[in-house]
């Protein structure tokens, strides 16, 4: 064997090994969380409130519901803005404008989540005088916007312009063509993007720590401090009690399962593909 062949073989092995490692890490995390989390998981985790310090047992029912409330608010706030912004970006904005929007959107996406948290704290929590699910929803909603803009744009961009032409050539106004033809053609992708966006912020912790904060009882409405799974994991994991550590593992496992399920379902939706006219695909 000459040197060329040896180098070739080594590089083949090295890159292959790293790929294996990449995939392996995912499965390692899954397996580890299943092992630590599932063993700590019990039915009461889903149904009961956190137990007072010193008592064993209890659950995180309030955090599960709280996460749901905060994420619902975030979706209501973030998705319409992101979606319509994406429509503008792909359908209306000129070349300069779309460059500016894309750039700004990517920068917003890159803003550390804790910074978004502190801004919402300053603008919502501080003036209101208390933490709330509402503030948490705003923080996560802001985080959803840039991802939603870009995924909406991406899927609208995949719709062939021949469909837009067909629609306006029949007397449809531009907006009518977008609503009746372009968006429906991209709908499946947009739904997928929204689900992935949702899953992406479901695990966000930093912005929730000083917006929704958390507590260990039921919060009614959206105007009170509200427990969420990620914040709960944080609080329980840094505590000094073994039982709380087990609860944190269980919560981590539940959160991971939720996010993975959404991801898998979302990808199934899009893998059914966007229909394209013959010869245009």
């Amino acid at each position: 064997m000459n040197v060329k062949k040896i180098v070739n073989f080594i590089m083949f092995g090295l890159t292959g090994l790293c790929t294996l490692l990449t995939v392996g890490i995912l499965f390692f995390i899954l397996a580890y969380m299943a092992w630590r989390g599932a063993s700590s998981l019990s039915w009461s985790f889903f149904t009961q409130l956190p137990a007072p310090v010193g008592e064993t047992g209890g659950g995180m029912a309030n955090a599960i519901v709280g996460s749901g409330k905060v994420l619902l608010l975030a979706t209501i706030i973030g998705i319409p803005i992101g979606f319509l912004g994406g429509v503008y970006l792909n359908e209306y904005a000129g070349p300069t404008m779309s460059f500016v929007i894309r750039y700004a959107t990517d920068l917003l996406n890159g803003v550390p989540s804790i910074v978004i948290g502190i801004v919402v704290w300053g603008l919502v929590v501080h003036p209101m005088g208390h933490y709330s699910a509402f503030a948490g929803g705003i923080a996560l909603g802001i985080m959803m916007i840039p991802i939603s803009v870009r995924s909406t744009e991406e899927f609208l961009h995949a719709v062939p312009s021949s469909l837009r032409e067909a629609a306006v050539a029949l007397g449809a106004s531009k907006w009518k063509a977008i609503v009746t033809v372009v968006i429906p053609a991209a709908m499946r992708g947009i739904i997928t993007g929204t689900m992935l966006d949702f899953a992406r912020v479901a695990g966000e912790t930093a912005p929730l720590l000083f917006t929704a904060l958390g507590n260990s009882f039921w919060s009614s409405g959206y105007n009170q401090p509200t427990a969420t799974l990620p914040a709960m994991i944080f609080t329980y994991a840094i505590s000094a009690y073994d039982d709380w550590h087990r609860q944190a593992w269980a919560a981590g496992f539940v959160l991971l399962a939720l996010v993975l399920t959404i991801n898998i379902v979302a990808r199934l939706v899009v893998s059914r593909g966007i229909e394209m006219p013959r010869g245009n695909a």
């Binding site: 062939p160 837009r164 067909a166 050539a169 029949l170 007397g171």
Partner: protein, 295 residues
Amino acid sequence: MSSEPLWNTARNAEQQKQRSPQYAVRPSFRPAVEQQSSAQIERKTAPAAKLSASNINFYYGSFQALHDISLDFATNRITALIGPSGCGKSTLLRSLNRMHETIRGARLQGTIRMDNEDILQHDVNVLRRRVGMVFQKSNPFPKSIFENISFGLRVNGMARRKDIPGLVERSLRKAALWDEVKDKLFQSAYGLSGGQQQRLCIARALAVDPEVLLLDEPCSALDPIATARIEELLFQLKDQCTIVIVTHNMQQAARVAESTAFFLMGKLIEFNETKIIYTTPKNKETEDYITGRFG
């Protein structure tokens, strides 16, 4: 697919036929033909012009695609635009229903009149309903056949809900597609063959009852049999509308068109009755192109 007895019965179809003229002629859309200018009356040689382009200069950015084009499209006749690629024939076609406005940087100078009305002053959505277009690649919507045909009726608010099925059938019959699709109206249009898809696009354009139909190389992706069906269709349609067709296929122009315009490098070289263009062209370049010496 559930059967739809509401409009499958012959009686219903008959009623639709009777009803259709009332919807077809919207007075506000059709200016009186009497109002023709003296300039147009003076043109005695050809039938009255439905569309009349004068002194068209067209630019894509700084590139001039059309140079001072003046051309009349006679009512209820088929006019073919021929010429080598890049000669501006599609550009002219697109400007006839202002589809060029969807292209960034495109700029049109000159006037285009339809029934002696300046189309550049016209409401563009109304204009495009009146001047339909069929594209080179068939572009049905990713919707059912029924939804494809009814699309124009719905976006233009042209028909009441209960009238739509009858009008869909009428359009499909006009495009000679009804018998092939009547059992799968609610299936995706993408299940149709290429030729059927193109006829679907023609039916879709006809559904809004256009006065002019523009076709941009409608057969370029079709086999000879599908092409023949579409040409046959054009013959039947010219009683109802004025047809302008861009084609690369010179036999096609010879077969379907009464008048032919030959373009070269953005200039109108020759425009005459097809017979004359093909037998005794006045211009050397036309003759060279027709006889296949270049292009």
